[in-house]
Amino acid sequence: MNAARKGAVPARGAPAGLVRDLVLTGVFGLALFLAPTLLRDWFGQASVSYLSLGLRALAVAVLALTWDMVARTGQLSLAHGAFYGAGAYTAAILLKNTGSPLWLGIPLAAAVGAVLALGLGAVTLRLFGIYFAIATLAFTEVLKAVVQEALPQAVAGGAAGINVPALFRPTFVPGEMERWEIAFLRNQSYFYVYAGILLLAIVVSVLIQRSRLRSAFTAIRTNEWVASVVGVNPARYKLLAFVLSSALVGMLGAVEAHRLGSAVPEGAFAVHVTVLALVTPIFGGLYTTVGPILAAGVLATIEETFKRSLSDGYMIAYGLVLVLAILFMPRGLMGLFRGLTRRMKRGPGPPSEASASPAAGGEETGA
């Protein structure tokens, strides 16, 4: 009994788990770094489309993981489109109206995202559940209207939007490279920027999961009043999650505007962005780091496969997959895997509670 307890305490110690997760993050980062080159060696010209699939998966992963951070505090945010759009427009307006360096828009977009979230959060995080969700959705529409109608057209471009310069312009060297390699190089450069933002989001997520913030977030999500009675300040931690999440989404919005070449109200503040941000973590497994990222990869691949093989009706098939997923795996991919690993660990014999439960507990605190 005593020995078991002594064994359990260090295993739960934050540093060990934190180091493990950061090492895994590093390995994942290395894989992302090598991916474009490997794809190119293996697939040649086809690697261009694999890379754009990768870009999409990375972008969705950032949306999903940052949405999940807010969800961990029990808040259902429908404002992801707002911060994504705010980021896109921060870079766009900055570069159109000032002679600022090309890259300055990205950190500035993070700052704008954080400040907007601070303002919106201070007002709305007192709202519970559906009221918060509606307020954040309304905020998205208001922000879109402000950009489109209220800001002078000369500054923000009105409904037509603003052109945003590309971050990368690889030059074609005749004789030394083929035509498609231009597209590859361009995608590769963006791939690294997207991967960088995702890795940053992962580190933030891991730091949350491996510190006492996780306790606070989970307590608030489960029962805000009880959390408060045991000393957790709910508003503070909800605001923290919201601000961190929005800063990261703002950065993503800015980089996407660079890659797409423009910031347009309908595109930047699209409900589609918000929906993606919310569906993906549910598909992957809420309140985890791995779930949303895994789901982003899986969903982007499914979507792309359907698009190619089914052409027109692909959205119907894709929607069907999501509906079935939510019906049959309510805890997402992570829930599915946990169920499987638990069954395998127990083996064919009768389940032994004593040996199974600490292992399972350790698994759940994991990334």
Binding site: M1, R5, A8, V9, R12, A14, R212, S215, A216, T218, A219, T222, N223, W225, V226, A227, S228, V229, V230, G231, V232, N233, P234, S357, P358, G361
Partner: protein, 245 residues
Amino acid sequence: MSTVLEARDLAKNFGGLAAVTSLSFRVEAGEIFAIIGPNGAGKTTTLDLLSGMLSPTAGTVHLAGRDVTRLPPYARCHLGLGRAFQVVQPFPEMTVEENVLVGAQFGERSVSGAEARRRADEALERTGMDRLRDVPAEDLNLLQEKRLEIARALATNPEVLLLDEVMAGLRPAEAREAVTLVKQLNAEGVTVVFIEHVMPVVRDLAHRVLVMDYGRELAMGTYAEVTADERVVRAYLGEADAEAT
């Protein structure tokens, strides 16, 4: 002795219903203070007002000489007010240990990780929950949930502990254990305010008893004094007899 917790002219209306009316009392440091009364007398509402779950319609709450009427629950917790709920409210997704750790980590303004772990361990041991530390809170039975409720409140390192009917539903032996724990805590300097229906427990523990009825103070004094009070006997008739046995 000094007053650690004080209610001054507290009132709480829910719509047209006056749940608590002009209620005043002082709890002295080191005291065990019982609040009793028939169902619907406003006892739990009073604890809600003290812990900040509800804000009063009128009146003030003072904690360690400070007016905390406008402070939210977490701020009162940081000032040393702990609470265990009548309707047990564990965080079901967490293990027992994680539940208690929340109290240990956030019960005071700045607690180091090691110190929080030590406090959690101590709270788990004192409530006999250390064997169950890795069990998910949703798998506990009622008795275990009640212990967890107390453990989590203890882990916040309270100077004043509010206990809301923690003995209800316990078997006599378990209740005796709980009484011993409360006495021990009190001997270490923790002031205890508790709501209780089980009269022998009140008799064994309480230095003073506040009897409430219809949201008001009906009587106040030692156990012997209030049980001799004719108004109390009348208010309790039937109910006290049934529950005391």
